[in-house]
Symmetry: C2
Subunit: 365 residues, 2 copies
């Protein structure tokens, strides 16, 4: 940690200096840093249980990267959901400056900004590779920043789960009729599409799901995928696990930063924050990719979970309903239309290319 080295040397120079002059600048307290070498302490609030696999590891990794890269000049402390603020109040906490930073999913803020869910996942939309390309080379991140700017909040891509599983159902789903009146925990645009085909979408943070499912307050839930679903023990509360992920085909998480706090950082620390988010964005997907299959095998072999695809008529109905919901949203909210137009144009192109590359390779190998 060279940074402490120079601080000590500088403090030493000052001590010698004070021997012959009183014109010394004040030292920066215990750290010995002068004002120009200021130490920043940031709170990072999250929507996840502290240290939760994948989602919760992302912000911890971020903090570790930043603390080390900055030589301790930017110290980030991570809070689990409910430790400082509830999981669904992360955005407000960052906007108000209660915390300098947050880690969450953009679709949690759809009540405030109808376009927000586009920056986490759209049913039958882009997968993780496509989403990252749109955000960083297709104009997506600029639109995301435009959306959050009125709140003084700056978003960064903050990891991705890959394709999420369709979820856990207490009863088997054999046809579209089985969804009628079903209470299911499903957030974002997926929830609105689910309503369109006759279901009843419910929103709650991850930590509340297990009890709701076990007590029968909900009949079904999606959460993430085998790695996280196993960690919550959802298999103890529902028997049927459907894999045909449709509602969140590559869910982006977000790091959000209070604009004033960010602007107060020197350029090197700003870049450290930015690059650390990019690295975590990749790292979280790597963790999910490596751990999901192990967890799936455990669910099947140790817990006797039945894993199955959704029936074709259900998938078809969901796909049709998705188009309807997206068209309605575009008609209702000009910012939704602006963001979705960019998303759709990029998606059409990249999906076409993936037919010749990623998709063709999956099917050829």
């Amino acid at each position: 940690m060279k940074i402490f080295g120079i601080a000590a040397l500088f403090a030493g120079a000052l001590i010698m200096l004070t021997g012959c002059s009183k014109e010394t600048p004040a030292t920066g307290g215990e750290s010995g840093h002068a004002a120009t070498q200021q130490t920043f302490k940031w709170k990072l609030v999250t929507s996840w249980p502290k240290n939760f696999p994948g989602l919760g590891r992302g912000p911890e990794t971020f903090a570790e990267y930043v603390n080390t890269m900055s030589g301790g000049r930017l110290q980030v402390q991570v809070f689990g959901a409910g430790e400082l603020v509830p999981g669904f109040e992360v955005f407000d906490a960052v906007a108000s400056g209660t915390a300098q930073m947050g880690h969450a999913g953009a679709y949690y803020w759809k009540g405030k900004m109808p376009a927000a869910p586009i920056f986490s996942a759209i049913p039958f939309g882009m997968n993780v590779t496509e989403m990252n390309a749109w955000l960083h080379y297709g104009g997506g991140l600029e639109l995301w920043r435009e959306l959050y700017a009125p709140f003084g909040v700056i978003p960064f891509a903050g990891g991705n789960t890959g394709v999420q599983m369709a979820g856990w159902f207490k009863q088997e789903i054999n046809s579209l009729e089985d969804l009628a009146g079903l209470n299911m925990r499903i957030p974002g645009l997926g929830g609105e599409v689910f309503k369109e085909v006759g279901g009843v979408p419910v929103t709650m943070t991850g930590g509340e799901i297990f009890v709701a499912l076990q007590t029968g307050a909900i009949d079904a839930t999606e959460w993430v995928g085998p790695y996280n679903d196993l960690a919550f023990g959802l298999f103890r509360a529902a028997d049927n696990y459907y894999h045909s992920g449709w509602h969140e085909p590559g869910t982006a998480l977000e790091f959000i930063v209070n604009e004033e706090a960010y602007n107060a950082l020197p350029a090197d620390l700003q870049k450290i924050v930015e690059v650390a988010t990019r690295a975590v964005n990749q790292d979280m997907l790597d963790e999910y990719t490596a751990r999901n299959n192990q967890a799936m095998q455990k669910l099947i072999n140790e817990h006797g979970v039945k894993v199955k695809p959704l029936p074709d008529d259900v998938l078809r109905a969901l796909k049709d309903a998705t188009q309807k919901v997206l068209a309605e949203k575009s008609a209702q909210d000009p910012m939704f239309k602006k963001v979705y137009d960019s998303y759709r144009q990029f998606y059409e192109g990249v999906a076409e290319y993936h037919k010749l590359s990623e998709q063709a390779y999956y099917n050829n190998r």
Copy 2:
């Protein structure tokens, strides 16, 4: 750039100090940094033309990240292939310390280390998502470091192209017979598999390909994908563009660092190097994903390129030959066997899970 701020202040203190004492430490030259705040200047040599789209942008982005995050304490200068050393001498240059760092592809070093190509791409092997997960959460990176350790070189994942195209052929390929005696530029294990089915693999750096193809020194070439292939103008030298990528289904690039140079860095700069490589690893894929489709449309619509799949019998023969080559390599080289065993075990698991997630989603959406 606070770092310059404190340097100036420190220099100021020294100037005042020298007014009443001669016991001053030497300043660190123009930068004003003392020894504890040492500035490091690194050369980064690459196997690509300077600033080449994707491959060449990766090291430039890395340098920009590191220069800014370190406040100028670690200054990285990037050299294109042939500017300081030839493209195929990057590894030796880093091992010897001629350059502190390199950016290349591991399969270029297969003459030195038979197992090296596993860390770039295996025919019919893992795609980019799977490869990154194996490297960072499946033990892959540890094995890679074990392989390079005897040379005093530390590897980091350094970007990925995604699925590469099967390549450019002067004549149409209608059956396996059309490959017999064909001179094709194809590196790594793909080249050995190509030889197994009757072709003649040739190795050369990217910069040499166009002339070789145009003069007929080679009959065919793979390079990367539409984005890079368009930049080289390969469509001017061959008419047939085959998309069914099989030989490099998610090619990892590498950053390599001279071990002594790395160990000489303080902990904050070491972490800055590590995290910057992770961020570039993601960023390069984003660039390829966003640009490949645009380039493919340009090749088809503006340059009249015919894009087609390889015949089924060719793909089948290549797949069989791949198994043979991998078995032979495992029998010949214990380190190849050790690395490939880890790779294969991870691949079998993750491919099984991707059947229910990424692959299923591509086919359902």
